[in-house]
């Protein structure tokens, strides 16, 4: 093993060692549960919209197969080679984030999608993993400098601000928040001086409080989301419709749920139940018990990712693994907080569950990276 580690340039592209079965099992458990719930939550809407109850599940199923294949393939690659993508990924992401501004708008004022044929994807999906790769690489490369030289801290911070800012300009507020959260987590794990965070967290808190207090200063769309979150009686058939219906669905689930497939709220009450609000249908059908079990699965995924990282022999691998699972974790948390009306409705999907082919493939590819890291870790597998 020692030999292999030093023979980076010898072309050992194929990773040796076994991957972490526990992590794979958690991923597959989430994937299968997600597919089942997608079918259950989405068939009614698919029936009305596409006249075909199987519309979503067939497409998602195809992408799941592609994604699992990609995951297994990537897990065989020696993770050390992912360093190559650190700068490349940043470049591609930057290009894509900029190009959406000149592409036709998907919806008035929204730039977040790129369409290739009949498939659409969000550049921010790629940017999320690119920024994880970049920070993992950079924090390893300039490990000492970032502790001493405040200029490095500024450069690193600037990267985060540029990316999050671009996503925000696409009117993709949740994406920007996510991007910022990932950046902050990476820099924190990478060893930045803690004062940056104390100052940074304070500044972010102040910013949030400012906008919550003055929602009209934000763009109309985002502002209305905040108003709708603050005023529970605001426009019940409009801005708050989705959230109210989500709460009705979650509440209807009770302790044990209505039973798999038995949701009533998915029948055109919860808008697009296969998408961002799929977790509301999960809660309605599986109850508090089922919903908690799924949250615990996500928690397990995060925990296992961190365990893999702690047993990794390189800082890059550790940061990569933690960055990926953190990203999944934070996205899950934000999604759950949105459907439970804990934070404003920002439009954030639930990993493994929400409908979306490209993001599922991306997600599984990232899981493949974690598995690849796990092959080289000292973990008892």
């Amino acid at each position: 093993m020692e030999k292999k580690k030093s023979s980076l340039l010898n072309g050992k592209w194929v990773a040796k060692g076994n991957f972490d079965v526990t992590f794979l099992l958690i991923v597959l458990a989430l994937l299968i549960t997600g597919l089942v719930m997608l079918f259950s939550a989405g068939y009614s809407y698919a029936y009305y919209k596409y006249d075909n109850s199987l519309h979503f599940i067939i497409r998602q199923g195809i992408f799941a197969v592609i994604g699992v294949t990609a995951m297994l393939f990537i897990s065989k690659i020696n993770y050390n080679y992912f360093r190559i993508f650190a700068l490349l990924g940043m470049g591609v992401s930057l290009f894509l984030l900029l190009i959406v501004f000149v592409l036709p708008q998907w919806k008035e004022g929204f730039y977040r999608w790129i369409a290739i044929g009949s498939f659409t994807f969000q550049p921010s999906e790629i940017a999320k993993i690119a920024i994880v790769l970049f920070y993992a690489w950079a924090c390893e490369k300039w490990e000492k400098e970032i502790k001493k030289d405040w200029k490095f801290a500024l450069y690193f911070g600037a990267v985060a601000i540029v990316f999050a800012g671009l996503v925000a300009l696409e009117n993709h507020l949740s994406g920007a928040v996510l991007m910022a959260a990932i950046s902050v987590a990476m820099l924190y794990l990478g060893g930045f001086n803690k004062w940056w965070f104390i100052f940074g967290v304070g500044a972010v808190m102040a910013l949030i409080i400012f906008f919550v207090a003055n929602p009209d200063l934000l763009k109309e769309y985002a502002g209305e989301r905040i108003v709708a979150w603050l005023d529970k009686d605001y426009d019940p058939r409009g801005a708050r419709w989705q959230t109210n219906q989500s709460l009705n669905a979650i509440g209807s689930g009770g302790f044990l749920g209505q039973g798999l497939g038995e949701s009533k709220q998915k029948h055109l009450y919860v808008s697009e139940p296969q998408n961002d609000f799929i977790f509301a249908i999960v809660c309605e059908e599986l109850g508090f018990v089922g919903a908690t079990a799924i949250i615990l699965l996500f928690a397990l995924l995060v925990w296992r990712g961190f365990v893999i990282a702690m047993n990794c022999r390189s800082k890059f691998g550790a940061l990569l693994s933690m960055g990926i699972v953190f990203q999944v974790g934070i996205q899950t948390i934000l999604n759950i907080l949105v459907v439970t009306d804990t934070i404003p409705n920002t439009g954030i999907s639930l990993p493994f569950f929400s409908y979306g082919g490209t993001s599922l493939v991306m997600l599984l590819a990232e899981m493949g990276m974690v598995l690849s890291v796990s092959r080289a870790s000292n973990l008892k597998k």
């Binding site: 390893e140 509440g251 009450y269 508090f288 439970t340």
Partner: protein, 756 residues
Amino acid sequence: MASKPSKLMIKRAGILLALVLVLGFGTGMVRLAKLQLIDGEEYRQKAELQQLGDSSVQALRGTIYDCNGRILAQSATAWKVFIDPSNIKVNEKDKTEDEIKAELEAKRRMVSNGLAEILGVDAESVYEKSLKTTSGYQKIKGEVELESKNRVSEFISENEYYDCIGIEPDTKRYYPYNSLASTIIGFTGTDDVGIEGLEYKYDNVLTGIPGRVITAKNGTLGSMPIEYTASYAAQQGTSLVLTIDETIQSLLEAELEKAYESAQANAAYGLVMDVETGAILAMSNQPDYDLNDPYTILSESVLTEIDAIEDPTEKNEAVSVARQAQWRNRTISDTYEPGSVFKVITLAAALEEGVATKDMSYTCVGGIQVANNYIKCHKHEGHGRQNLQMALMNSCNPFFITVGQKLGVEKFCEYFEAFGFTETTGIDLSGEAVPKAGVTYHTQEKMGISQLSSCSFGQTFQISPIQMITAIAAIANGGKLMKPYIVAKQLDEEGNVIKETQPTVKRQVISESTADTVLGMMEAVVSAGTGKNAYVAGFHVAGKTGTSQKIGAANNQYVASFSCVAPGDDPKVAILIAIDEPVGQINGGQIAAPVAATLVEEVMAYLSVEPEYTEEEQTLIDVAAPAVTGRTVEDAKQIADDHNLKVRVIGSGDNVVKQIPAFGQTMPRNGVVILYTDDRAEEMTTVPEFAGMSLSMARRSANDLGLNLKISGNAFSGSDILAYSQDISKDTQVPYGSVVTVYFKSYSGVSDSIYG
């Protein structure tokens, strides 16, 4: 270049992990616990409220059939249209208060006018309902049929009034025969609850169990695919099979209506009962009403009276009274003095007790002294010496007073009670008149010689028509008093019998031999007595006439009635016909008996009862015209002769090319068949007015005009019978040889009252 995670990183990883798990996932789980475990019920109710906005499905009411399965009343699916005034809203964004007000007003008008036009309701009343903004449900119209419902749906979707106007299932009751048996069947109110007749009496049975539909709505008020609907089907109510026979009912109603009109009466009512079981085969009141339109008054004379009233309050009251009157089932709810019909009861009791015998004789001198009163007989000069049978035939009052006095108060009351006159019959209809001791009839304690005397011939007490016919049926069936009934069976949704009414014998009132004796005497009443107008050849009709003055009413108001049993030698049905307040002829024998005769003739034919003719009757019965067309004239003459018919040949050919009457047509014995032997046009003749002619005059007239005369009614009662009606109206051009049925009745010896 690669190095293990530093201690700092491990420490920070631990902190971050804890933050994510506790702060992130922890918060999520706490929120879920709050929403699902603490507030779950509240959200579930909110969700259900929108998902199950309308969850009840009305059950169809049971069907009502006649005894042959013909549908008399049936429910079908319909719809109810309502508005939700609380949801008639407009977009208030960027508008002044006045603009909002104006827009709301316009929207309400649109809704009101649109619904009014489609549903035929008053637009203003819909508008007023739309102003009740605190209400979420204002019914506009129920029993809406498919076509109108579809138009309402279109109206809703065209204008996007999904929140304002709603449609829900309802049912509508249909009565295919309109007025047939209306006072029996009754009708339902707008809420599908029976309010008259059987619909009221059997409301619990007929009403079904409402069903539920869970998840009838999706989020956009569209229809849900059926597999997402958990529904508990509505259970149709139990169906009723009546003892009523639609054919007999129609015959009774047609005859009663004619009698009601020609007598210019207040009402006419009649009953036909199966004497063996007590089942009611027909029961009618005239005038009656249309079950599909029960609030409209049908009687033209009543309408004319109402139109004459000018005061609006009085007019409304009159309308209301008239409605109640046309809904009233007089055959069970009204009481009357039976008059001479009741003499058969007195007779039966006296014979049973042995206080009178067939040979008993008495001389009527035109009246009798009872206590301080001299009671006159309707024949002022007196009937002279009569035996019991003759007394019944003549309906002699002094004779029956004597019989009643011989019977005595105690026995009279005993039989009065035994025949069921002191109790309700228990028929399964609501509104039966309840006899009241001391009010509607004399109690034994208070019955003196005067009361006994008048009761003996059916005066000074009141009974209901259903009681009378039940007692007559007891005489007809060998002395058994039956409990009359009208619902034969109850059927479940699949048509299985779940309950069947068994005939109930209340008691043996008189012996079979007494019953036979009375029946024999009643037959004589019809063949030669006051009931002769009820005569029907071949059926030995046994009956009794009655004419009574109405107590408490203004002077000169009578009830003319006739009750009979047919066939007299093997009783099947009992019939009671009563005409309330006739004008002109007022005797039961004059106006009620002919109705019964027509009815017996028709009902016996319908029930395929074989007539048994006497030798005398044989000479007059009708024959079916034989087939002679195509035969030689000689052959035709021979065949006609074999059938007791004559022929008249028109033409010069050798073979018959055409015959009138046609093959199979009923024609009188000894009638003439016209035979054409070539293709010439039929020779025509004109039908005369037969009314008022005697039998021999009518025969002569028919003969002269080349018509075949078919006689209906009593042809044996001597020279005093006169034609009163005919089936082909006068001045009609008909071919030679056509058969004209002429109805005869007797105008003398049929009176049994001192009044007419």
